[in-house]
């Protein structure tokens, strides 16, 4: 079976969660939301919208968190499937080129700046950004995603793991297969985060097992695996 899957996403989202290439199961290409005509010309069987409803057309539509008929969500009631946004496969290319310092991403600005300030006071190189980008991943050794405990991992978690960076998360529940202390470091409060991030960037070699296990944990969340699975699910559902 050779299937065609179109991914629709804005550039920033596509860089972390998109998919391009040919695989054993078929091929996938990523389009911007304004590329409706190009998508129609290519003729995919399945179109997956990552940051909104995909354009309408003669294909099976799947969306992430947009509330469509086949909507994938970590928490929304009535979701068709539950999953984290997967990691773009090509993020694996970043693994050998580990950057330096800590990126603090997401959360309210005041929290982000507070964490960044504490890290700077420990002489840690830190970048605080509202949304994680591929460039942020490229330049960091450690990425701390801000968010609430007892919730699914914040967006970008799978991307950080695939890129081979040390990942710090608020204690996640459900964790969607991620294992605290094995593939990522959980934190309970700001001070935990700061101290753990400091240790991880000070002794990167000691945290190598965590990074290696994180990369392997990301395999189950790679875009090539997740989008194919969702497309097959939709096909089987329609065929039943």
């Amino acid at each position: 079976v050779s299937r065609r899957i179109a991914i629709v996403a804005a550039d920033g989202v596509a860089a972390l969660h998109g998919l391009e290439g040919r695989f054993a199961w078929g091929e996938a290409w990523t389009f911007s939301p304004s590329d409706g005509e190009a998508i129609a010309a290519w003729g995919p069987e399945t179109v997956i919208g990552l940051d909104g409803m995909p354009p309408e057309g003669p294909w099976r539509s799947i969306d992430f968190e947009a509330g469509g008929r086949r909507s994938v969500s970590t928490t929304a009631p009535g979701a068709w499937r539950r999953a984290l946004l997967p990691a773009a496969d090509d993020l694996m290319e970043l693994q050998p080129h580990v950057g330096t310092g800590v990126v603090v991403a997401g959360g309210p600005e005041v929290e982000r700046e507070s964490v960044a300030g504490k890290l700077r006071s420990l002489s840690v190189e830190v970048h605080a950004v509202p949304c994680l980008t591929r460039d942020d991943l490229a330049r960091a050794a450690v990425v701390a995603l801000l968010g609430g405990s007892g919730q699914p991992p914040p967006a970008g978690a799978t991307a950080v793991l695939a890129a081979g960076r040390v990942l710090l998360l608020p204690r996640a529940e459900p964790a969607f297969g991620l294992l605290a202390w094995s593939d990522h470091l959980p934190y309970e409060n700001e001070d935990d985060l700061v101290r753990t991030a400091d240790a991880a960037q000070t002794y990167p070699q000691a945290f190598e097992p965590l990074v290696a296990l994180g990369v392997l944990a990301a395999e189950a969340h790679l875009a090539s695996a997740v989008y194919q699975r969702l497309a097959v699910d939709a096909e089987l559902e329609d065929a039943a």
Partner: protein
Amino acid sequence: MRVAFLVAELGRSGGMHVIRDHARHMQDAGDECQLVVCAPKLEGLPTADSGIPVTTLATARDDRFDVAVATWWTTAEALFEVQAARHVVFVQNLEHRFYRDRERADALGALGVLDLPVDYLVVSSHLRRVLERLRPDARTRLVPVGIDKQRFSSPPSAKPAGPLRVLIEGQPTLWFKGVAESVAAARAMREPATLTVVAHDPADVPGGFADRVEAGLSPDGMAALYAEHDVLVKLARFEGLGLPPLEAFHAGVPCVLTPFSGSEDYARHGMNSLVVGFDDDVGASAALDLLARDPALRTRLSQGALETAAGWPDQAAASAQFRSALEGLVAEPASDAQDGHRRLLRGRRLAIELSREEERRDATRLRLSAAAVEGQRAEAERHLHTISELRARKSYRAARFVNRLIGRGWYE
């Protein structure tokens, strides 16, 4: 070859079955194997287990072997107490993952096994990738786990029509097996279904957990159970390989499973299984409903399962590979896994940093607890003060006097 298998106990776990199978096969091939029990308390130890001589670490220390094989992380601590030409760790799972937050010391101990200056045998390509990534200096050989084909292979029987027969395998008390999640997914189905749970110990299966509970089955019993069902559900968090889906495949029974580590060696979504994401409760129920509604899909997946099973090695072939891997390690010059020393020191640093962090968190929790106790004490004092004030009031004293007059004990 003279081979010492260092074991923690002579239990009935799946991992121990694999060790026994390999040891028996090697004995049949003319090798001399021993099960060296490394447990601290040794009572009632048999002289042999399944025909394999059993001995203690104290006795094994005076012996000399070609290969000493650690089979569980605590047994690796005794590995270099046994004189052997080669020291090997047989990795059937990443054992640090068994432990939860409050068992950090055990988790770090188990993780440390991957830092040793030894050779590694692993049971899945996932484990091989872990070792190749963590220990490119060490020799790692993949030795698959074989299936007892005579027992488990059976052509798919024509099953009677009716509700979907769902089988869930796993010990509910083991958090990473996802048994409760599997039961919940089956219970949330829209289509009719019957639910069987099979575990090691029935005492750990709550009443009303499933329509039918089986426990402590022999391999023959398990084979018969697979053949009775339409689908095996396994929503594990991780495995080393995960043998039950492979056993089910041999009976032509497809699986609904999470993409747990190890499953990538045999699970193919839409071909022999339906793979659902971790924590995707709606997806797992939908997969089961789909199978219940679509007999043609069940048949197709069943055929795919049998094809996968046909390409999987049997026990004899797998044990022959195990033996061959050990022979190869003995024949080749000893590994120069010097990086193990560097890794051990790095592992020690990881333990220091994480323990330090845990101490800080404990201290914070202690401070918070102390503050909470202090808060409760202050609140209790405030209440006592309020009560004293009330009692001092004239109205209270008057009410108390009236109550005494009419013989009631209120306000006392």
